[in-house]
């Protein structure tokens, strides 16, 4: 499992896979008239819809990974629909991360496999099934174990690395309430929480004269840390730590502005 996920999270693999996947989906749509919605604006990895046969007059296969989602390793194995109207809807649904969702061979009419909204879905396998109007709905509430939480955290960090901060927050918020106390999840929640602010009456000195010093003398102190106060150089050093030591030794009345001149 972990190995597979590591592979799935490999950035180069994602970069390689997405255009290919988009091309396959576009081709399938053009050829069969099937509506395959692979999620706009979303990372979709390893989503496979294997060969399906449909002998009916109207077969509507809607594999909708849905908007605002990450979908990884979602596999729909060969399916056959012999009814006149076979409507197979595999919907990973909105506001969800879906990982390793496998739908095994099945046949039937109006099969709706719905992976449930507002939940991360992981390792959901739907065994062979047949039937009319069968609606397997996989509700994952309450079955997230430690491994699943690790997966969620990986997904969240992958989203962060893709600069999808809003989506990462949504994934976290989709976790069942009972998991809010998990230390690992709490840590991620804290990191991803929107910033909070508090006004402070504290003020710093107007540093215009220090800024002028920087403009006038930057060339002379390239690569140096400088401490400035009232337009004067108080101390300089080749490292921040060294500068801090010097400034503290000086016992200045005002706190100087510290700045590293670009080398």
């Amino acid at each position: 499992m972990d190995l597979e996920l590591n592979n799935a999270f490999d950035q180069s693999k994602i970069d390689r896979e997405l255009p290919r996947r988009a091309a396959v989906l576009a081709r399938d749509r053009e050829k069969s008239g099937r509506f395959i919605s692979a999620v706009p604006h979303q990372p979709v990895m390893n989503w496979t819809m294997s060969g399906m046969s449909d002998t009916g007059i109207t077969t509507i296969v809607t594999a909708s990974a849905v908007s605002h989602q990450s979908v990884m390793d979602w596999t729909m194995q060969p399916m056959s629909g012999t009814a006149i109207t076979a409507s197979i809807t595999a919907s990973a649904i909105s506001h969800q991360s879906v990982m390793n969702w496998t739908m095994q061979p099945m046949s039937g009419t109006a099969i709706t496999a719905s992976a449930v909204s507002h939940q991360p879905v992981m390792n959901l396998k739907m065994p062979p099934m047949s039937g009319k109007s069968a609606t397997p709905i996989a509700i994952m509430r309450g079955v997230l174990d430690q491994t699943s939480l690790q997966i969620v955290s990986r997904v969240v960090f992958q989203l962060i690395q893709n600069d999808q901060i809003g989506l990462a927050r949504k994934v976290l918020n989709s976790l069942p309430v009972g998991y809010s106390n998990q230390a690992m999840i709490d840590k991620i929640r804290k990191i991803l929480a929107p910033p909070t602010t508090k006004a402070s009456s504290r003020r710093d000195a107007d540093r215009q004269r220090d800024y002028l010093w920087i403009k006038d003398h930057a060339e002379e102190y390239r690569g140096q840390w400088v401490a400035l106060d009232e337009g004067q150089l108080v101390a300089n050093a080749s490292s921040l730590q060294e500068l801090l030591n010097r400034v503290k030794q000086l016992g200045l009345g005002n706190r100087p502005l510290l700045h590293c001149i670009t080398s």
Binding site: I191, P194, P195, K198, S201, L240
Partner: protein
């Protein structure tokens, strides 16, 4: 300090900013505002960068406040220096005012020993919850909490 057209307070702090890094290789104007990371005890300059997904602290600043540990999940971000591995840390960053109120922000910042750049104030985890405006004719940065 600075009010909306409806008379509501928009920003209750302001500070002069430095508008250039004369030694930088590309010489376009920038906005450097005064900040104080928690536990540093001194003000430093950070470049305002709304295009940056995260705020970043210089590696030596991060080291000084003991942020270059391995206690948090490593994360790789794409930066102007390529892909860099580091960590996201929650901390207090204060934007310092010359006039009005300073602003303490419980923010998330990216730190990495590999980071060779300066300090940046990015959008996620910091700027996304503050109001700010710039008066370029007087190099003044107005800021305040987003209610």
């Amino acid at each position: 300090m600075l009010k909306t057209s409806g008379g509501a307070l928009f920003a209750n702090g302001r500070a002069r900013f430095l508008d250039e890094d004369s030694t930088a290789q590309e010489g376009t104007a920038k906005i450097f505002v005064k900040i104080e990371p928690a536990d540093l005890g001194f003000s430093i300059l950070a470049q305002l960068d709304t295009g940056s997904p995260w705020s970043i602290l210089r590696s030596d600043v991060a080291a000084e406040i003991d942020f270059l540990d391995d206690l948090d999940q490593p994360i790789t971000l794409h930066t102007r220096f390529g892909y860099i591995q580091g960590q996201l840390k929650r901390t207090t960053i204060t934007i310092l005012a010359d006039d009005g109120d300073s602003l303490n922000i419980e923010a998330t910042v990216f730190v990495s020993a590999q980071w060779q750049g300066g300090n940046f104030l990015g959008y996620s985890g910091l700027l996304e919850r503050i109001r700010f405006a710039v008066a370029p004719e007087e190099n003044t940065f107005y800021f305040g909490p987003c209610f």
